[in-house]
Symmetry: C2
Subunit: 445 residues, 2 copies
């Protein structure tokens, strides 16, 4: 039974949209809520690379509607094409006009399409978050032999890792910077990623730019050509702000929609969350070009709770970059500023390092080496960032560092941190990596 007006309309069906709607329901049990999404079968964004090998069935990575249905959120398959803020209604592609009391824009991002000649040729695939589209890409892939991936960020390296695990594929990865994951890691970690991919047979082309995509090859700016039955684009994404701009909403200084602490746009009845929103850096308040489902869902929880009354006072002082990935058993995480970013920003820093086993004694079956780097403000001793590599547990170690950053923990506090250790699960108490690295930095602070 369709309404003409909803208390809450959510525009967008990605993680930010879904969590906004679900949270709104939790806090406002009696309101009518509608979510409008343009893709029938969405996917879990970070699971996309794993649809190509690790997951037996791509459908396992579907972004299901169950949480929405459980939360009594109406779902409409359509697209919001216009917001009339004065009339407080939206218009959809199918021509419907629906009133709202509160509107949440969760429009996501669009893959960046760089100005490369031949980018529109039919063997070039940007990554769209659409199940049917990605199934098509997987089909193409099964027939392809020579695959070129453009971009050495998270999407690029994860695709390279997955595809190189398939039989009979030649994978090349083109990255314009001198090492992989440069935006999130310092070189010593980025180089570990490179070595791991090379060990799997991936051909790395660093400091390289694609000039032109031809029929079945790719030409780099230095003139070399590499065979390419298929090109995968992993360059990054930019905020989808078209609708907001057309509705006269501010973008602030960055590229995303401007919002206040509670995710309200300049119009208090219009909220915006996720990739379409500008982020303020935790350390500098500058615009931060970070797009993460974890950030998006945190924003969505703030918006959902605070739609009609500001219920949840936000303690968040800005967005931190916090990432993890895993390549063939090697887990990596980064939180906050890298050393080079911190120095580039003008911070005086001190670095602490630790290399320890992730079980103890080191002879325990299945032990991996943890490599940890922490970055502190030299004068104030406050943690600015951290990077870790190791086994599975590194994926949560980075979240300890993330919390330390968000709580502005000092090297001294980390030095006397109380933690649980166990032979099968962690480094020994005598060598817990966060403590050791803090101590290492503390010596110099």
């Amino acid at each position: 039974m369709e309404k003409e007006k909803y208390d809450v309309i959510v525009a967008g069906g990605g993680p930010a949209g879904v969590i906004s709607a679900v949270t709104a329901r939790k806090y406002y049990p009696d309101k009518s809520i509608l979510l409008i999404k343009s893709v029938g079968k969405g996917v879990i964004p970070c699971g996309i690379p794993y649809m190509f090998n690790s997951l037996k069935n791509p459908e396992d990575n579907i972004m299901g509607s169950a949480p929405l249905e459980k939360s009594r959120v109406d779902i409409m398959l359509d697209e919001v094409t216009k917001v009339s803020r004065k009339a407080k209604n939206i218009t959809t592609k199918a021509g419907k006009i629906l009133g709202y009391d509160k509107l949440i824009l969760a429009m996501g991002s669009n893959p960046i399409l760089p100005p490369i000649k031949g980018l529109d040729s039919k063997n070039v695939f940007p990554i769209y978050k659409d199940m049917d589209y990605l199934k098509g890409v997987k089909e193409k892939l099964s027939a392809a032999k020579n695959i070129v991936i453009i971009g050495g960020g998270f999407i690029g390296i994860e695709f390279a890792d997955e595809i190189s695990g398939l039989k009979g594929k030649n994978v090349s990865l083109v990255e314009m910077f001198p090492y992989l994951l440069l935006n999130s890691f310092d070189s010593e970690f980025g180089e570990m990623v490179g070595a791991k991919l090379e060990a799997k047979g991936v051909k790395l082309l660093l400091n390289s730019k694609v000039e032109e995509i031809l029929g079945s090859e790719v030409r780099l700016s230095d003139g070399t050509t590499i065979p390419a039955d298929m090109v995968i684009l992993g360059i990054g994404a930019s905020p989808n702000t078209k609708l907001a701009e057309e509705a006269g909403l501010d973008l602030g200084k960055g590229k995303g929609i401007w919002v206040d602490e509670y995710m309200r746009t300049a119009d208090p009845d219009v909220f915006a969350v996720g990739d379409c929103v500008g982020k303020r850096d935790f350390f500098t308040r500058k615009n931060l070009p970070v797009m993460l489902a974890s950030t998006a869902t945190a924003e969505a929880r703030v918006a959902g709770a605070n739609l009609f009354k500001l219920k949840v006072v936000r303690e968040n002082k800005g967005t931190i970059a916090i990432y993890s990935t895993c390549l063939d058993g090697l887990a990596l995480g980064s939180a906050g500023l890298t050393e080079s970013a911190a120095r580039g920003e003008g911070f005086e820093v001190e670095v602490g390092r630790a290399e320890v086993p992730d079980k103890h004694p080191a002879a325990m079956p299945g032990a991996n080496k943890i490599k940890l780097k922490l970055i502190f403000s030299k004068q104030s001793g406050i943690i600015l960032g951290g990077q870790v590599s190791g086994g599975i547990s590194a994926g949560e170690i980075i979240n300890i560092i993330g919390m330390a950053i968000q709580k502005r923990v000092s090297a001294t506090e980390l030095e006397t941190l109380q933690m649980a250790t166990h032979p099968c699960l962690t480094a020994p108490p005598t060598m817990y990596p966060l403590v050791l690295a803090a101590q290492d930095a503390g010596d110099k602070i």
Copy 2:
């Protein structure tokens, strides 16, 4: 070249002693440091159960002297039997008298020997942290068929897990409380541990007390007998304070040696660290009967840094109980107060729960289920404790909770936590367990 006087003498060679000495060296490069230990070949305490199955060679669990040697700490195999505070010297078992400027007592603990008849019979084995002794226990074990473990705490359950994995052993575990790990977990987690051990063939005797140990059987207080070629005692330990008491040092209200924030005893030239020291509870300031290598090493770092000048200002507001263990792939962690302990202490609490996969989508190979429980103060919303079960990563998830407790994080802050998530490493961003459990509790706060 032996001296008659050292700047620093450390009495005790366990983790607390070793880390005190190593930290003292870091902060005071020019001081002479001696460590006196009574056991020639010590062991890593938490690795002891794993010497009986997981580790191929028990010697892999040795507590080596390399860190001491690297830190230019002299080592003496002897035992401190007397401290003369006035003369500022110690006497050893071998009759040596050595002067000190600063003394660190790291005397550890002794296994509790409960008043059970027949406890002194030759097939009963308390757990001493001594390689040669433990090798003897392992030898006995290889010949035994029926093994009875007394005590369902960490040592007891870990021995039960390890030994039940050996061929041809009947393992019984006797625990006086209604479920295992009662001091650290609420019943729903303790019962998971019981089920796991039962699935491995361990016979659980809960609500049971051993009355008498006979030649080859054990008699419980309800009259039943169980065959026992060998009895392992895992009842717990009590602080070794004999030396301190004889030297006239205060014990305060608890059983351990009294120390100030900087691990100084009533005598400012005598420090004490580790199991022999009384702990103040983080929440109540009461005496806390917790003995952990991680706590001991944290204390040792404070003592070592502050021996001659208070260099590291301590931010530690007291000791939290923080534990992890792993049974046959099931990792468990607990930090802070359990729900029942919090209620028993008089806190008004609200509980939040989450059950999510530890990879995402849940179809990712090797995904386990994470079960998380967080305990909050109802009024103030501050986190009081948490418990988690899951795969390997649960061992670090409990350390995120530990940091949250130490930084007095609120449910609201956890609800909008920024974290890294990845398909191979963590729950999805839409269902990160700490966020979900905080939200679950927040609904009720």
